[in-house]
């Protein structure tokens, strides 16, 4: 059942992005930045976690979950370390995603001969 919801919710978030492309005529960078901010605000209202419980990867794979993870790190660290946690905690949870993207992209650039 979670597979169905992952498909539906993930697809719906992508449709939201497509509408921002086509209707609002936003560039990809504007669209992604907006979606990340939306994810951050939704997690700030404590609503992203229920969505993940409900839709699994449908909520964790779209870029909105990046905003969610940034806020989540900040709030967890705020809880355990006090005010400084807002700064020190932001990248705690997202480390895997950013590190993986940097490392794999760099290795690809080393190995792959650019075409054309």
């Amino acid at each position: 059942m979670i597979f169905l919801w992952a498909f539906l919710v993930g697809g719906a978030i992508c449709v939201l992005g497509q509408l921002m492309f086509d209707v609002l005529k936003l560039t990809p960078a504007h669209t992604m930045a907006t979606l990340v901010v939306i994810g951050a605000i939704v997690d700030g209202l404590d609503l992203y976690e229920p969505l993940i419980k409900f839709a699994g990867a449908g909520a964790t794979v779209p870029i909105t979950s990046f905003g969610n993870a940034l806020v989540h790190g900040a709030l967890t660290e705020l809880h355990s370390q006090g005010w400084i946690g807002v700064i020190s905690g932001i990248f705690k949870v997202t480390s895997a995603g950013i590190s993986a993207a940097i490392i794999f992209s760099f290795l690809a650039a080393l190995v792959i001969r650019p075409k054309g």
């Binding site: 993930g10 449709v15 497509q18 951050a40 979950s65 806020v71 900040a74 809880h79 690809a108």
Partner: protein, 163 residues
């Protein structure tokens, strides 16, 4: 003499004011169906999330992880897949078809970094790859970080203690 006049006449026909030209160009533009684009984005985006869910389930069942623990390795695997597909030139073909369906998932984030890295490889490893990798992804990271900061401050002021 006569041919020159004919030629001029031909160009006279082509002469349009910029406004007329825009109307003309709009007529010739292939129709962009918003509904069709949304359907493609939905199917491809949903499918990518489906793959993500399958990877999550694999981590949960094979390595006895909780869903929270599985989400980080899942993202890493999705990014690895995206980098491989980008390197093979497959992801960009998919992106032309799927629009936001392939851009919005985290695989699109990795694709933007990897394709920037590959594109600027010829400018050198430091200035080219290092300097350009975050060209598109930078906006996502900057806005995400600033938004997370303000949400954190809001929680601090409202005294929720981060729940």
């Amino acid at each position: 003499m006569a041919t020159a006049k004919n030629g001029a006449g031909r160009f006279d026909k082509m002469a349009m004011s910029p406004k007329e030209y825009q109307v003309y160009a709009k007529e010739k533009e292939p129709p962009r169906s918003i509904l069709g684009n949304c359907l493609k984005a939905f199917l491809v985006g949903g499918s990518i999330c489906l793959v993500g869910q399958a990877v999550t389930e694999l981590f949960m069942h094979l390595m006895n992880m909780t869903p929270e623990q599985a989400s980080n390795p899942t993202v890493a695997v999705m990014i690895l897949l995206s980098v491989i597909l980008t390197s093979l030139g497959v992801y960009d073909k998919l992106a032309q078809f799927a629009g936001a369906g392939s851009a919005v998932p985290v695989t699109g984030f990795a694709n933007s970094m990897c394709s920037a890295a590959l594109e600027h490889r010829s400018e050198g490893l430091v200035l080219g790859v290092g300097g350009n990798m975050f060209k598109l992804a930078g906006a996502v990271i900057v806005y995400g970080t600033v938004a997370a900061f303000f949400v954190g401050i809001a929680h601090l002021i409202l005294g929720t203690g981060g729940q």
